[in-house]
Every structure is written in structure tokens, then in C-alpha cells.
Amino acid sequence: MEIGIYPDDRGPTAAGYARNKMKVGVYLHVPFCRRKCAYCDFVSYPAAAADMDGYVRAVKTEIARRGAAAGAPPMAASLYVGGGTPTVLPVEALVEILDAIRRSFHWPPGLEATVEANPETVHRSDLERLRRSGINRISIGMQAAQDALLAVLGRGHRLDDVREAVRLARRAGFESLNLDLISGIPGQTTDDWRRTLEAALVLEPEHIAAYSLEITPGTALYGRVERGEVVPAPEDRVLEMFHATREVLTCAGYEQYEIANFARPGHACRHNLIYWRNEPYLGFGPAAHSCWQGWRWANERDPATYAAHLDAGGLPVAESEKMDLRTEMAETMFLGLRLRRGVERERFRRRFGRDLDTVYGVEIARLQDQGLLEERDGCLRLTERGLPVANVVFEEFL
């Protein structure tokens, strides 16, 4: 089974990149949350203390300024509203920003437009309002089916809230729905994880993102691990869960199209495909990342600093780097290999004007010898054995 995401899209040529005729993924970062989850190392601030008006004004300015700089409005390839928790913003504020995006970008009919939501922050009227303003996909942070494990993660919801959120989303007309799940939670057994997967399947999502928990320094959970209050899941169990995920979801008719992402036919997330194919995207809002016209940049993380740059007539870029060819090819490899389909040889050749083997022949041969990479349908992809140790493969291309 193969999911035809862009059946007619053979990928851009080098000239296409240079002429900037690319469609672009649009990302909006809403850096506010009701509470910070114990494992979260994304940029988010307490919603209660936030200057939401200031944020909305600034983000609209950024969108307009970027749009103007691009000359003719670029064609959006996808829209993704993430965070943080986008649904902590008053819905009218969110709609206002979506309107700003419409003014600066071409928003073709049927564009995949996703909003992330936490189960406890969705309201029926808000969902309907978002649906009417063009959002057609919703991603709900379910994480686990056991309330005790949700508590370890510091989540503000219970399993029942997830069921209710899914019901509301469906009633509001969302036909594409993702559930985020986390495996490898301290104290989680493989059976717990299987029950989580089954509980998710009962809700019939079109898409499931199943990540392994990473316990990053600076997070509350990291502190608890350091203090010995909780014990991280042992590696073997994490691996067992990784395999269970594939087994359970594949049997249920989902295809693993990326290391951690599973979808029903036709429901692979186009926005994430842009990242994995190393194609252009523009991110708006504090801490948002962009990749556009040969540059990568990250916005200021602090909302006040972010807004100050825009008020002063500038752009809120904190860090940027110009992509050289070598780096761009390397990134195309390690991002593309995350996809189950792998890196398409022809697409690579069209984009960089050289063959994969000319650039990475030695590395590819070695990794094939080690049984970590394989050739399939004109694509280079990770083998079953290579999947769980993907980083070992990725670094070869750097």
C-alpha cells in the first residue's frame, strides 16, 4: 500500500528553487498554554499572564510584512497552527490571524489546515467557528489512556476529556483528525501502551502520531528523574512499545509513513511532509522556525521581544543561517529517511542536479552492508532494523 500524497508532484528542480516558485507551508505558533506539561520543552508561556492582544497584533504584522516582502502572495501548501495550545486563544483572535494569512498567501480550496488542541480546551462553538474559517484538520493531544500516566506527564486532562473532544470535533465537521500518543512514559508497561493504542483506535482517528517520550534537560520531568522520583522506561521496553505501535496500527489499517506517524490512506499530514522533504515553510509567531529561499531562521522566543522588533518596523528573527548545498543535501537525507518511503532518487536528482550515489555512494553502500538501508521503488529507505536506530544512519550524511 502506498499513499499518493502528491501523485503529480515530482518535486521542485534546482531552477524552481532559485526562481522561488515554490509552494510554501505556513506555520503559526501560539506560544501559550494553560499549564506547562511536565515533559514539554517547546516554547510556551502561561496563558493567564499573556498579552494576547499584543501577540495577535504582532503576529498579524509579521504575516503582512513577510507577505509584502515576497512580492506576489506565495501559494500556501499547507497551514498548521501549533503551540503551545492554539485553542487557549480566544477563537475570534485566531480567526483574525487566519484572515491575515489569507490576505498574504494564496489559500487554495481544500488546503490542509490543521489546528492543535488539548482535550480540555475545546468548545463546540469554537470548533465550529474554526471549521467555518477553513481549518479542516485537528490534532488532539491524547498521549495516554491511563489517567495515572497522564498525571506523570502533567497533562491537564483525563481519558474521558479526549473522548469528548473527539466527539465535539467530529460534530463540528472535522473529517481529518490526529491523536498524539506518547510511549515510554515512566511507569508505563507495554500493556498500558497497547491499551492506549486500542483506546485511540476506538476513536477512529485518520492519523496517529506515536512518539517516544524524550526527557529533556530543563523540563519538570527531567528534574524528577534527576532526583530519582521517577525512573525512565528502560530501553528494551521502549523498543518493545515501538514495535507494538507498528504491529497494532498496521493491523488496524494505518500505514506507517514516517518513523512516528501513521495514517489512513490519503491522510498523511502534508504539512509534516514539507518538513520531512526539506521543502520551504514560513513560521509566524514567537519561536517559530522558517525555511525559505535558502535560509533557515528562528524567531525571537520571548513574545515581548518578538513584538518589539515588529513594532520597531523590523522582523523578529533571532537566529538565521544560510543553507549551503552540502548542508541542504544532508538535511534532505536525514529528514527524508524518516519517511517510510525514504528519499526518492529522482526527486533528489531533480532538486540538486546530481545523483544520490554521486554524493553519498560510500555512505549508502556501507549502510546497506550493515543492513540499515535498502533500495525500493527508486527510493532509498531505512530497513526494519534501521528504523529504531535511525540516528546512527542519519549522522552518516552529515
Binding site: S212, Y275, R296, V389, V392, E395
Partner: protein, 602 residues
């Protein structure tokens, strides 16, 4: 600053590490006005940073001091520095040969140490006048009376004649200077005889070429003179003569009895070896000065750049270092595991460490050093005899008639309560007991005949740790002796790591192998596959460990387009591996190679 011979005194300082030689030298310089305060960075005699850090002197140097004695006359005092480590005992003997007297500096709390003793004996052999100085008398633990008794009992010097000093506080310095003038005889040697000048040190200077430090024994040296190295054979024209005060001062002549340096456009220190005699090419002396010996490397190891493309830089760096170090030998070597590198020979372990550190520090090279080995002598069944410096040169076991290894006479001086542990250590290292001698009520001198290979393998550290740092070590070369030796190969994932092969006594093979494979197991990171580590004698595996496969290594969190961060994580991961050597498909960290050297040290 030309003086008649009777107003010249040439002396050196003999001391154990940390007993205060450098500080005392500073004080002498200060007192005689050669140094004002700490204008020159402290301890001028220790030139290199490295020396300062290790608190030892690697290269000798000479300083001329002008001292107005109590008799109202001005004397020319030449202080010749000596290295304090066993590796450099030949150099020590040459600088002693350039002197008529020596200050014997002994720490008032520590007493005499083995190295000091060895050097004192050398000094006595050269008929040097010895002025004992008991230093650090300001310390609360000082026990000068005990040290006086030791001087009498051990060396047979008059303990009452010892100068009590604190170089740190400057106490006793004036008395030391007076004693130098009084007790040390002025140099002899006819200024009109054919020239004979002893080279006691040399170093390479990029402007002047090789600078030879000399003591003129007879005759005179002058700029423009054609000189000949009596052992090496080269002829050169003197371009410059000078002395150090410690600032460099050019002079027009160096006469019999004087100490100074010669520059003669010499390109390589190997043409100007320590111990050689300089003579006048037009009017040569009939005989060279006695005692010349070409320094012979005793310890060998392979040096490989971590990054194979640095081979050229490593060669250049070794070329540069050897300009200054006639005892450093090296030749290109290829290792299957490590690629291109050099097999280098050193006077001893310390010499090896110093060269390694200088290569890394001064030349910015990242190196992998193989386990040090000695030179083995192999007699083949067909009667052929040859020497091997590298385990990989060993012929198949069936072709070997016998193997011999170098033995040394190791002597250690230590407090008596540690006799037990030290004897146990020496016995465990295949030592053959020779002697135990009390040198005072509490201290003993133990001597063992031991294989040099056991000494270069972590012996000194062990000795230190089993005596809480109180034992000192000295060794003298004895010659080759037959031994039951085998080569142990280390295999990682089926590939032989030639760099880790060792030659070891048969009775030790199992124990050593087990340690090595265990250490490798702990140091080689997990890979995407299982790695088997084996130690084998020929085809027979005698130790085995395995590293289980890495199960999961994937960052699969959605990163909202933050590809840079992801890339940097991967780059860091990769950077870690870059410092490793890839053998087959296994990445082996440098520590793994180093560990074989330090096994047992932890």
C-alpha cells in the same frame, strides 16, 4: 666577564623532583643580580611550560653568574642545570662531566630519594665536590638532623657540613655561594692545548641553527674557527659564541674552564649530539673526551593521527621536535587499524609522554598512542637473530627458537613500612630480588632485577600508590634475558586491531587479556549491531566479551520545523565518533587504545 681559571666555578644542582632545585636556582640568580625579583618568569631554568607543570627539567641549560665573594674577588659561577629523571641519566652524566662540583639539595622532610642517590653516585664517579644543602627547613615537618644522618649513612658525606636553607625564603643562599667558591675547585685544562669542548646539551634555534652548550675542557673556541665533531664527524664554522646571564650575551672567546654556547650553522641536533667532543678542525686533539655514548631508545610506541589526513603534519612535527632531541627516533609505520603513523623510540616512559604532549599541545595534533613496548630480541629456528620493536613484527610461533627481553636493575627507596607491598609488586612483575639495604632507621633501598617491559607497564603508578607516593624509582639497564613470551592479539568484530597487540609473558597473558577486553567492552559505544571482542594467542581465544547492540536511537519528536536543532544534535553525535577510529564498521574511541596502556592503573 672573562675570568682567569682560578676565579671560575662550574657546578650543578642535584635534587629530587620537588625538593626545590628550581627555586634555589632562582635565588642564586637573584642574589647575584642576574635576576631582579621575578622579572623573568619564575624558575627560569625550566624553560618550557610543560616542564613547569611537571616540575621537572627536561632540557639542561647553563647560566653564568657574577659573584663578589667575601674575599673581595669577583667569581664567574657557571650553573649547569641537570634533568632529574631516570630517562635522562645519560644527559645527567654529561652535565656532571662539565662540572667540578655539585649542590646536593635534599628536602628536610623527605630525605634522600633514589634518583638523587643515583645522581650523587654519578657525581662521585666524576670526582665532583659535593655541597649538601638541606632545603625547606622552614617547613614544620623539617627534620634536618635525620637528613644529616642520612647523608652520612647513605652517601658518606659529612652531615655537619650541610648548609641549612630555605630557598623559598632565601635563607642560606649567601652561605651556599660562599661554599661554592670555597669547596669547589677551579677548572683545570690548558688554554693552549688543542681544543676539546664537551657538548652537554643542544637545542635547535630556527635562526642560528643548532645551539650547542659546551664546557671547554682544553684550548679555546673563537668565532670563525673551523670545528669538528669528533664522534659525529661533521665540520662547521663557528658563527657565534655566547653565554647566558640568563640573557644571551655574545662573547669573543670561550677558554678552557668556561661554559657557554656555540652556534655554527648546524642544521640537525643529530650532528651535534650530547657527549660529543668539539675540536679545532685545523689543530685537532688526538683523543676525544671520554664517555660519549649515542642515546639508545628503550621504549617504543606507535603514534597515529586520529585524523588520517594529518599524517603529513605529524611527520613535520616529529621532524621539528627531533631537531631538538637527538634521542627521539621515529620511522613510518602502517597499521591496519590505525592507518599511517610512526613507530617512535624514546629514552623512557616520561620521555614518551613529554613528546606526546608536545605534539598535541604545540602542534595541535590529536594522536592515538599504542601501548608502549620494549625491543625484543628474537632468535628464529634458522638461527637468524633480530630485534623487534613492534608486536606485529613477531614471526609465527613455529619459527621462533627463543625470545629475549631487556632487563633492568630497578632500585626504589622507601619508608620501611611499605617493604611488604613493594616486594609483592616487584615479585608480581617477575622481579628477581637482589638486595634490601637500610639507609637510616626508617628507610630502605630495595633492588630488583626486572623486565623493562614490566616497568613501562604502569609500574611507577602502582609503586606510588602502594607507598602513598613515598617510593622513588631508578633503573639501570642490565641486558637481554630469555623469557617465555607470547603475542596476544585483540579482535574487535573479527578484525585484528594490530595496534592493540601486545607481547606479554605467557603466565600473564590471560590476566592481561581479560583486562583489555573488559576495558574495551566498557569504552566502545554500543553500535547498531552486537560487537564481539576477543583476545587470542594465534588462533586460540583466551578472553571474550561482547557489547550488545544498540536497541533504539531515534529522536522522533515533532520539532515544529526546528531542523537546525535536530541537525546539531546529529552533528554532536557524529563529532563524538569522529574522534574515534573506524575499524571495519566499528568506531573505537581513542581512550580504548589508551586504556591498554593504563590497565591496572585504576
Amino acid at each position: 666577564m672573562q675570568s682567569k681559571q682560578e676565579y671560575i666555578r662550574n657546578f650543578c644542582i642535584i635534587a629530587h623532583i620537588d625538593h626545590g632545585k628550581s627555586t634555589l636556582a632562582d635565588r642564586l640568580l637573584e642574589y647575584t643580580g642576574a635576576l631582579t625579583g621575578r622579572k623573568v618568569q619564575e624558575q627560569v631554568l625550566d624553560q618550557m611550560d610543560l616542564e613547569r607543570e611537571r616540575g621537572i627539567t627536561i632540557k639542561l641549560q647553563a647560566v653564568r653568574l657574577a659573584y663578589r665573594a667575601r674575599d673581595g674577588r669577583e667569581y664567574q659561577l657557571n650553573l649547569i642545570d641537570t634533568p632529574g629523571h631516570v630517562d635522562f641519566s645519560y644527559e645527567v652524566s654529561r652535565s656532571l662531566a662539565a662540572c667540578e662540583g655539585a649542590l646536593l639539595v635534599v628536602d628536610a622532610s623527605q630525605g634522600i630519594e633514589a634518583q638523587t642517590l643515583a645522581n650523587v653516585y654519578l657525581a662521585l664517579e666524576h670526582d665532583l665536590a659535593i655541597i649538601p644543602v638541606i632545603n625547606k627547613i622552614d617547613l614544620p615537618s623539617a627534620d634536618p638532623d635525620r637528613v644529616r644522618r642520612e647523608l652520612e649513612d647513605v652517601i658518606g658525606l659529612d652531615g655537619a657540613a650541610a648548609v641549612l636553607a630555605s630557598a623559598k625564603l632565601g635563607h642560606g643562599v649567601d652561605e651556599i655561594l660562599e661554599r661554592i667558591v670555597r669547596d669547589i675547585s677551579p677548572p683545570g685544562g690548558a688554554p693552549d692545548a688543542p681544543l676539546r669542548a664537551l657538548i652537554f646539551d643542544s637545542h635547535y634555534d630556527s635562526y642560528k641553527g643548532v645551539i650547542a652548550y659546551v664546557r671547554v675542557m682544553e684550548g679555546r673556541l673563537a668565532p670563525g674557527m673551523s670545528i669538528r665533531m669528533m664522534a659525529a664527524g661533521g665540520e662547521f664554522e663557528v658563527s657565534e659564541l655566547g653565554i647566558f646571564t640568563p640573557a644571551l650575551v655574545a662573547v669573543n672567546e670561550l677558554r678552557a674552564g668556561e661554559v657557554g654556547f656555540v652556534a655554527a650553522g648546524i642544521k640537525n641536533v643529530k650532528d651535534c649530539r650530547v657527549g660529543d667532543t668539539i675540536t679545532n678542525a685545523r689543530r685537532p686533539a688526538p683523543e676525544p673526551l671520554p664517555g660519549y655514548r649515542k642515546a639508545k631508545p628503550m621504549v617504543f610506541c606507535g603514534l597515529y593521527p586520529v585524523d588520517g589526513t594529518e599524517f603529513g603534519r605529524l611527520r613535520d612535527a616529529l621532524d621539528r621536535l627531533s631537531l631538538n632531541d637527538a634521542s627521539l627516533v621515529y620511522e613510518p609505520e602502517t597499521s591496519m587499524a590505525l592507518g599511517f603513523g610512526f613507530r617512535c623510540g624514546f629514552l623512557g616512559l616520561l620521555h614518551m609522554e613529554i613528546i606526546q604532549e608536545r605534539l598535541e599541545r604545540e602542534y595541535g595534533l590529536e594522536l592515538i598512542t599504542t601501548a608502549p613496548s620494549v625491543v625484543y630480541r628474537v632468535t628464529k629456528t634458522n638461527g637468524e637473530v633480530y630485534e623487534i620493536q613492534n608486536p606485529s613484527q613477531l614471526p609465527p610461533a613455529g619459527e621462533i627458537e627463543k625470545m629475549e627481553e631487556p632487563f633492568v636493575l630497578a632500585s626504589s627507596m622507601l619508608p620501611q613500612e611499605y617493604i611488604g607491598p613493594v616486594m609483592e609488586l616487584c615479585q608480581g612483575r617477575r622481579g628477581v630480588f637482589r638486595n634490601l639495604e637500610y639507609i637510616g632507621p626508617q628507610r630502605v633501598l630495595i633492588t630488583y632485577e626486572m623486565p623493562l617491559s614490566e616497568i613501562i607497564y604502569d609500574f611507577f603508578d602502582r609503586l606510588k600508590s602502594s607507598t602513598r607516593g613515598y617510593a622513588s624509582l631508578d633503573y639501570d639497564y642490565l641486558g637481554y634475558r630469555e623469557a617465555r613470551l607470547v603475542r596476544v592479539d585483540i579482535l574487535v568484530a573479527g578484525e585484528r586491531l594490530d595496534a592493540l597487540s601486545i607481547i606479554v609473558h605467557r603466565d600473564k597473558a590471560y590476566e592481561r587479556s581479560k583486562l583489555i577486553v573488559e576495558q574495551l567492552r566498557d569504552l566502545i559505544p554500543r553500535h547498531a549491531f552486537e560487537i564481539v571482542i576477543q583476545a587470542a594467542i594465534g588462533q586460540r581465544v583466551i578472553a571474550r566479551e561482547s557489547i550488545r547492540a544498540l536497541r533504539k536511537n531515534v529522536l522522533d519528536k515533532c520539532y515544529g520545523g526546528d531542523v537546525t536543532r535536530k541537525r546539531k544534535l546529529l552533528e554532536r553525535q557524529k563529532e563524538g565518533k569522529k574522534r574515534m577510529k573506524q575499524v571495519g564498521s566499528v568506531n573505537i574511541p581513542q581512550e580504548a587504545f589508551m586504556s591498554v596502556l593504563s590497565i591496572g592503573g585504576k
